[in-house]
Symmetry: C2
Subunit: 327 residues, 2 copies
């Protein structure tokens, strides 16, 4: 495969995901020096990028190429959701080794295209090159109504802390995959969460529009680390009730030993939303999202400590989530 | 170094490059889920990204870390210049091996900061992770007045073809570096061009504003390949006069044998601008840029072929520039 062939394949798969953006907002896609986007009046632009590297974020012999395509985009889109924004388009930086054949590329692009459709984003451009391992970097551009972006820094003492969905499922899915236990009963939800996570775009956007939240982050590193990020940015602490945390459902296998609380606290890769809500709006939040699993897991405190109430014990919750530099 | 330490170093070096953008346009820098940029009314947004990988784009034992920092940004900024836009901010995706020490990071960030200042761009955000080799991907966001972006596709038969500066110098610089011939007389200009290229931001912007150009690209792959890109996008051919191409000045060494025309045709990495100008505007162009080396090297033709007139010979000019997949 020459560079031109690879670009042609990418263009064919992702050239026109949906016509709405293309032509009206995305004035120029791949094929020029830069992509050209018409900003929406009254909106601000959101920018985020995420690595997805063979050996660090995925294993070529464990992760199907279409999952790699889906997930590299989902991760980056999730950051836009966590700001309360709408993702618009993305840039794909892709570096491939010679050992990576045309079939791998095809399946990767299929997963990427499905993700792009699902998340409502279009390919704006990118860069391709040769490397020893598969390297992916995704930049996502989103938008949010002026002044409506939800930052990490807005949490106030007394706010309730909520999380969407279940935590720890994705990490459980990874462990099952790693151990070759994909086919045991009850494994599929966790595997799906690990391989094809769905960022909470609609929830994030609505929470921002309805001004229900004071701070928000997506759970990518793990609850313990991401809650620490909110507290640090907001100059607060937090108190979390371990019994309230929505834990993963474990598969029914005696040979596998997992601690669901540890998975939920430090597992990461969940792409759920963690957010803080003023007490007086808690009722309104529950009324607005009756159909969604939103769980109040604790509250923001004035003291800078993050405490975990676990039965009768009260202990410090140390950030123990994903840090690529400490493994 | 933990991830938090690396982010702190990056924030310290690049947290506030210049105050103009920060606070007024760049509402949120690194430290949240995404960066937040206020678009300028009447402008369109330009987006581009570029790989800069150890082993592919630089060699750790040959290229000083501050050159790596400068050049990874210059390459990406050059794409904005080639659209006639103004670069605003950038995202830095950085992956470091354990073998890469704090000193390397410090010098890399110094080069990156100097580049950012020189090009007038600010760090908006990024992502860091661990890898086996040093991996860099830079996304640059720029802006251009609505409708004023210069594409590759606008060249028309009869247009004159111009290039800024000299071509082939950067490749000459690389060859000198590779051969350990950095200190021979006359090497410094070529080395500077290879290590610290300066994208033609001001020239690109002015050419677009003055509506002097019909198509433009930056010479990153090499004249033969980049002219091919313009011709392909425009549905034209071209005829280039080899005697007109501004060649690199060779260092005065008998032991080094270089073909300056080959360097200029296929060398790449020049980050000069290659653009097409309607005949009737050629006079105006020369009047406007008397102080700058702009060279008319040929003209756009109706036939789809790209021909090189070399003395009495007329031959096809085959794209022979940089293709990372064919080496």
């Amino acid at each position: 495969m020459r560079e031109a062939d690879i670009l042609e394949r990418i263009g064919k798969e992702l050239g026109q995901v949906h016509k709405l953006l293309h032509g009206r907002r995305l004035l120029l896609q791949m094929g020029d020096d830069a992509a050209l986007l018409a900003p929406e009046p009254g909106c601000e632009t959101l920018l985020t990028c995420d690595w997805f590297l063979e050996g660090t974020h995925f294993l070529r012999n464990k992760h199907r190429p279409d999952s790699v395509g889906w997930k590299c985009l989902a991760r980056a889109v999730s950051d836009i959701a966590a700001m309360g924004g709408s993702p618009l388009c993305f840039l794909l930086s892709l570096a491939l080794p010679e050992s990576c054949n045309s079939r791998w590329l095809g399946q990767f692009l299929t997963g990427l295209r499905r993700g792009a459709r699902h998340f409502g984003v279009e390919l704006a451009g990118g860069d391709t090159t040769r490397s020893r391992r598969i390297l992916i970097s995704i930049t996502v551009v989103g938008e949010v109504l002026r002044g409506q972006a939800v930052r990490r820094s807005g949490a106030r003492p007394g706010d309730f802390i909520y999380v969407s969905g279940r935590l720890g499922e994705a990490r459980l899915g990874f462990e099952l995959l790693r151990k070759g236990s994909c086919r045991i009963p009850g494994a599929s939800a966790a595997l799906r969460k690990h391989l094809y996570p769905v960022p909470r775009i609609e929830l994030g956007r609505q929470l921002a529009e309805q001004h229900l939240v004071t701070a928000m982050i997506d759970v990518s590193d793990g609850l313990s680390t991401d809650l620490y990020h909110i507290c640090q940015a907001s100059g607060t602490g937090a108190r979390v009730d371990a019994r309230k945390i929505p834990l993963p459902r474990l598969p029914s296998s005696r040979s596998l030993q997992f601690n669901p609380l540890q998975l939920a606290l430090h597992g990461g890769d969940d792409y759920e939303l963690l957010f803080t809500v003023p007490r007086r709006l808690a009722r309104e939040l529950l009324d607005a999202y009756q159909d969604l699993l939103l769980t109040k897991i604790g509250e923001v405190t004035r003291s800078k400590e993050i405490l975990l109430e676990d039965g009768n014990r009260l202990r410090s919750l140390i950030p123990g989530g994903w840090d690529p530099f400490v493994r």
